[in-house]
């Protein structure tokens, strides 16, 4: 891998996609309002859940807010990178333009996953960070070096799992051609990540930890923030993230063997 070359190419990607996205400045403003309203809406939903109960699945309101903060950050990352790029795969495959990507002297997964960027997602990420800092204050969390590294590790693992899930589903387009609805299914399942895993019944909990590891994406990082997480859980998350990343890569290379171009 020629690291320098990829860095240079990525800079070009950033430049071109930012230039084209900034054409629609009002769009970015509207997206920011959407992100703020969506956060207000989910906090509103949480207050409904907590209006007569002190605990949901063993979590206090202040603690459940941390999950919202992490969800907002991850959702921002999804909107900045995963969503604009990976929905493009569907278009590439349907119109046969994936040919051009494959012909380029650059890794196809790199090209497809990072080509575009949506700057309005940044604002959502920042919004999530503000909420997170607020949560750290109201929950009186002591910041220490080990805590910071642990939370950084778990959040980056979550990002890896999230990316792999998106990439995995987008890859299936090679067989099914029109699957942007599949990403909608994933999106609605991910919505569950806004709530602590323990608030669901046992069978759903199993489903959300094994088949779609939403539990790993938001609940474990939040537990780390609260200092509740056991070390085996963190280790497990690292393992799950690695397995997901490797399989998604293997799956992409496998799927490419079946790619037969379109309309030619």
């Amino acid at each position: 891998m020629n690291f320098k070359k990829y860095l240079k190419v990525y800079k070009k990607f950033l430049h071109t996609s930012l230039a084209s996205e900034l054409e629609y400045k009002t769009n970015i403003l509207v997206d920011l309002i959407t992100a703020i309203l969506s956060l207000i809406g989910s906090i509103f939903l949480l207050t409904i859940f907590f209006q007569n109960n002190g605990y949901i699945g063993g979590w206090k309101f202040e603690q459940a807010l941390i999950i919202q903060a992490i969800y907002t950050i991850l959702n921002g990352i999804t909107n900045t990178w995963f969503n604009p790029n990976l929905s493009e795969i569907v278009k590439h495959i349907r119109e046969g333009t994936l040919d051009f990507v494959l012909l380029k002297p650059i890794d196809s997964q790199f090209f497809i996953s990072l080509k575009k960027i949506n700057p309005s997602g940044f604002l959502e990420i920042m919004l999530g960070f503000f909420l997170l800092i607020f949560c750290i204050r109201i929950n009186q969390i002591n910041l220490s070096l080990s805590f910071l590294t642990l939370s950084l590790i778990t959040i980056s693992c979550s990002i890896c799992i999230l990316y792999s899930l998106w990439f995995f589903i987008s890859t299936t387009t090679i067989w099914f051609v029109k699957t942007w609805n599949a990403t909608e299914v994933l999106r609605s399942f991910l919505y569950i990540g806004r709530f602590p895993l323990n608030s669901f019944s046992f069978s759903l909990r199993i489903f959300f930890s094994i088949f779609i590891p939403i539990a790993f994406i938001t609940t474990i990082p939040s537990e780390v923030f609260l200092g509740l997480s056991q070390s085996w859980k963190i280790l497990l998350e690292v393992i799950v993230a690695t397995v997901f990343l490797i399989t998604s890569r293997k799956f992409w290379l496998f799927a490419l063997k079946f790619y037969s171009s379109a309309s030619s």
Binding site: V30, I56, A182
Partner: protein, 264 residues
């Protein structure tokens, strides 16, 4: 004679769109699956005994969420996304020449999609009732008919709102971000995630003046046999349609004058 012509147009449009939609069965099935959020919400409500505070039994609440699922399935609207694409690609131009408002085409598309979606929605509900047999109930014929009417009215309201948003395309090219903004209050206030009765008093005091509770909460309450004001709800739905329709007419006639036939 004239009514005959209109009939023929409508039937032809529906037939064409239905066969078109049948081609994308898998896509529509996935779309149906992506609407199962109400079931996850039900799981949070009953698993944490949150419904005790709002005096709704487990069974009635599960019926409410099943109905919310159905109402949502048959009132999903995406006209703004289709229209935006068609308008950016210049496909709207040939439609405008035809002696038929292009929105009839989209309307037929939605109806055809609902017919295609129906069996999938039934299958999902069937699985729900296998796991929760005690929630199964048979609404009487009158109530069933009324709730079908009110679901259709809810669909009409959303179709009109989105068509108005879609017409903004004539001015800004990208209207889908405004739709995503409007979707947030729809999601949180319509009763899809929590029944409106559970909302705090400071929200309940004004929410019945907005169109949101009539989109999902009212038809779902009607169908599930929960307490609701039938005549009040139906008349509010019709009132909103009468308010929105002239607005759509106005913005459509203004917009077509602005139209610049992009991409052609």
């Amino acid at each position: 004679m004239i009514s005959n012509l209109i009939n023929r147009k409508i039937i032809t449009l529906l037939k064409v769109q239905y066969s078109n939609m049948l081609e994308y069965r898998v896509e529509i099935a996935l779309w149906a699956i992506s609407g199962i959020i109400p079931f996850f919400m039900l799981n949070i409500w009953t698993n944490n005994n949150l419904n005790e505070s709002i005096n709704i039994s487990d069974v009635m609440l599960s019926r409410y969420f099943v109905c919310a699922f159905f109402v949502r399935q048959f009132s999903v609207v995406w006209v703004v996304f289709s229209f935006e694409e068609d308008s950016l690609m210049g496909k709207v131009s040939p439609y405008l020449i035809q002696p038929l408002n292009p929105f009839f085409r989209y309307f037929a598309q939605h109806l055809a999609e609902q017919i295609t979606r129906f069996p999938f929605a039934l299958i999902i509900a069937f699985f729900f009732f296998i796991f929760n047999p005690e929630s199964l109930w048979i609404p009487n014929l009158g109530i069933l008919l009324l709730s079908i009417v009110s679901t259709f009215l809810s669909f009409l309201i959303q179709f009109l709102i989105q068509s108005i948003v879609a017409c903004i395309c004539f001015w800004t090219e990208k209207a889908s971000s405004i739709e995503r903004l409007l979707f947030i209050p729809t999601l949180f206030l319509s009763g899809l995630l929590a029944p409106v009765v559970s909302f705090p008093a400071y929200v309940k005091s004004w929410i019945y003046l907005t169109p949101f509770p009539y989109l999902i909460d009212f038809p779902a309450n009607l169908l599930s046999g929960n307490e609701t004001n039938i005549s009040g709800g139906l008349s509010m739905q019709i009132l909103w349609i009468f308010l929105l329709y002239p607005l759509f007419k106005k913005i459509w006639s203004e917009g077509t004058k602005k139209y610049t036939a992009m991409g052609s």
